[in-house]
Symmetry: C2
Subunit: 588 residues, 2 copies
Amino acid sequence: MSDVNPGAVTLVEVREAVDVAAGRKQGSLLIRNANVVNVFTNDIARTHVLLAGRLIAGVGEIFAAAEARENIDLEGRHLVPGLIDGHLHIESALVTPAAYAAGVVPRGVTGLVCDPHEIGNVAGLPGIRWLLQNSEELPLDVWVTVPSCVPSTPFETSGALLDLEAIAALLPLPRVVGVAEIMSYPAVIAGDEENLAKALLAERFAKTAEGHAPAVSGRDLQAYLVAGIGSDHEATTLEEGREKLRAGMFLMIREGSVTRNLEALLPLVNPRYGDRIGLVTDDRLPHDLLAEGGVDFLVRKAIAGGADPAYAIRCASFNVARHYRLPRRGAVAPGYLADLAVLEDLADFSVESVYKEGRPVASHGRLTEAISHDAMGAGPVLHTVHLPVLNRDSFRIPANGARMRCIRPIPHQVLTESIIVVPTTRDGEVTTDPDRDLLKLVCVERHGKQGRVAVSLVTGFGLRAGALASTVGHDHHNLLAVGVSDDDLLLACRRLEQLGGGFAAVGNGKVLAELALPIAGLVSDEPLTIVSRKLEVLEQAAANLGNRLPAPFMTLSFLGLAVIPELRLTDRGLVDVLRSELVPGEIT
Amino acid sequence: MSDVNPGAVTLVEVREAVDVAAGRKQGSLLIRNANVVNVFTNDIARTHVLLAGRLIAGVGEIFAAAEARENIDLEGRHLVPGLIDGHLHIESALVTPAAYAAGVVPRGVTGLVCDPHEIGNVAGLPGIRWLLQNSEELPLDVWVTVPSCVPSTPFETSGALLDLEAIAALLPLPRVVGVAEIMSYPAVIAGDEENLAKALLAERFAKTAEGHAPAVSGRDLQAYLVAGIGSDHEATTLEEGREKLRAGMFLMIREGSVTRNLEALLPLVNPRYGDRIGLVTDDRLPHDLLAEGGVDFLVRKAIAGGADPAYAIRCASFNVARHYRLPRRGAVAPGYLADLAVLEDLADFSVESVYKEGRPVASHGRLTEAISHDAMGAGPVLHTVHLPVLNRDSFRIPANGARMRCIRPIPHQVLTESIIVVPTTRDGEVTTDPDRDLLKLVCVERHGKQGRVAVSLVTGFGLRAGALASTVGHDHHNLLAVGVSDDDLLLACRRLEQLGGGFAAVGNGKVLAELALPIAGLVSDEPLTIVSRKLEVLEQAAANLGNRLPAPFMTLSFLGLAVIPELRLTDRGLVDVLRSELVPGEIT
């Protein structure tokens, strides 16, 4: 288990930096005439910054003529602390931490707090270990919160279980900063002792317990907070945000790929709220990461929306560092690690160059330091797709009822609707009916356990032929496939098993496009640009098959998410989320 | 060693509080129509607060009709979080933690972070252990920072030594929140490895390293901060305070008995500085504690001076709790411990009643809950005054030089001046000369070690006869005495040895007044009111002997403080603080 604390400073380097600050030794780098964002006072002032190796040795006019091995003059350009994303799931970007770093470090992001919830659900402790190991020695600090919901519900078969003991085993690690979002808010509010114990465990280790309480308010919100949960990133309205802020939550304002809340909550990006506001991405898809960025996108958008620039930067750096108690991070100040971004322009938050612990690591949008990594080194997260024996009969639906439940995803949201349809039948079987946009959705348990297969109806995709399949299937990450033809569904499943996981589009008995995600069936071993391009090809193939939904593979991956209303399919069958129970497809 | 974490909450009580918040059980107390100070948003709003045992279960309009075993209606009176004093030395009040609690809890103070620097210098680890043990089960949380300067200088004999190993042994304790003020700022700035290691030790335990950097600025200040030191409470001017705030220090604004900085720094008690400002007392003498209060006095004075009342309260509660990472403390919010003060009037900060963890503990200026304590239970802190064999010759000064150094305390300050005098001599000996206000100052090592005795001249007291003596003698706490007659000096020393420490005023061969401080020679076992009265009697006796200095015993106790300029006397002799060396009395 990784126990490296990347930011721990040694006596030798502190002593060196003290000598540099006091003028007894020359610094490593003097950055002159920088407009420095001061996160302690929310102001910006032109001054000089002297580095001593990994550390900032001093900030001030007094360093104008300090000696240093290297000198640069920013001529008034802005210097800001490296940004820290306060909450995200790296797996959502479908890439390794190294590839993620290559994407965001040039944008000024030098740290993130990730919840390895997805890989945890597939691979358990070894999955989290893989993430920790594969995020060492990056030009990006990767801090981890321990997934608290593995599995997320009793209505699904996940690849692993993280119980209190497993969480307690991870909490002492130096890069583990807390217990991740406790999503089972109904259980917390109901006083469920296991969930309450998870929050208390964080407290026992003097770490944080993170929250996830969408639309929870009033007495329910107060009950949720009593557990000792310290944050939330699910507020979607200003009123909801204000209530949570006033109740004491560290309010993380989220702008993900799917869920975008910054515009609504922008009035809270206000210096009067001091250290109580954070900016986080939660989930960003490869294309958005490339086109818009990571947490830098939120800073840019907040500034464009009229927020105080210094404070917007503080919300995505110092405030996050304070919340998680990350030592020596999040400020341009003496004794802090020299994680810095030089801006071309403050209003645009356009980044010219980036320093990580004093080293130049990126310039003009590109890493200038090679990342060495061996993402495939960890066996337990490879070969995680173990399907039961499947054949044409696996996806049959006997025609037992006059009416059936059918899942309808709501475009641009994670929500689904449960609708009632009269199925099309033939020879005693329910069949797909592309003319009515009634397709089959299958969920195949892929963790090599009981090998359950569940089948239901779905509408909204509009496929005229073929099938789409994914081993990303929140939160259990079983194989989900939507399709018109049982043969194509079968081919798609078999192809994903061969790939060790991924996405596939299949039509007329052929694989039309695919993206291998061999790491836990969730993550590619290729760079972000390639993953993004393959995803575009996949989406084009889906469109050619008739798909009408935005981001069809993401939509598919959420159809198994049994914690968000209304109707979902897991390997155990249909889940009515509002009633919190398994329900049959047929309505009798 | 005490390892009780008084605020740790149990699963059972959290579950109970969740049930109360959610409305499934009745609360213990409903406080209706309170004007509640919200420390997260710095505003004040009329609402209701529901308690469940030790915890706050909920705050909000929604609780207007909540069920509770008890109900009170504040009719608009203010409800604020119990105050937390961010830095003080309890020993300065000359009383036990229990007696201190009796003094400040009725004033709305429910927590404090103390640096047992004085008792640590006398009794080492057992002294700190005594403090921890004797501050359990009070209606006041006592958190501890580990003294970092025991001894303070190499120019003195202290009773104990706290090295890195001893500090490391204390840091894991749950009530130990950091390493106390690192006063040896010249050593830190000079890169002294032992001092740097002390700061890093705090970081290793994820605790704080506190600062003490009077008038340190510019490159020196930056160097001091590089060590990882997170706070300062020594700023005396607005300019100094601003520089420290901007450099990243948690700026503790101090208003002690001797050093009073609030007026100068009041502009920094401004909501725009969010969580970066704290209010602390540092040292408060018994009389001031009774007449003015503890950290409540700072809140009152800040509000009277025009500060935003909600923010002033926040600076003495939530901000301190955040700085030291005290869980569930410092706010009136769900999940926080119910440490609360009801105000008669916000502008006066006059306290009507106080709740500690949900229990009513004080009302109208008096504790309503008995404090059980056994302050004398710990042997190692009793019988700590062990003088060498003294006689009339012990205090002789041979007349060896035409001119001598003489200490002159500056009234109302801790500073002293070094002046040069031509001594009065007789029979080859330097004698006291009341007409010229030249008295003898003696420092007798009292820890039973080498038994050194040092004697010098002092001016300013104006005694016409007799002697004053104290076993409080910062920071080594050797016996200090000032006097006209060698016989009276001798009597004073002997009397203090009999008492096990304390203060004495002696004249014409008789003890005129005394205060026993049997606990480490620093602390009384009597209540604050009695200690204060005895001190007044002592001061009256000193006045009768001719004393002209304010607070003569405090002044005397600081004459050995070899870390503050200009001239001091320890058991090893005169210390020139600016030159950081021992100097002879005679100038040759």
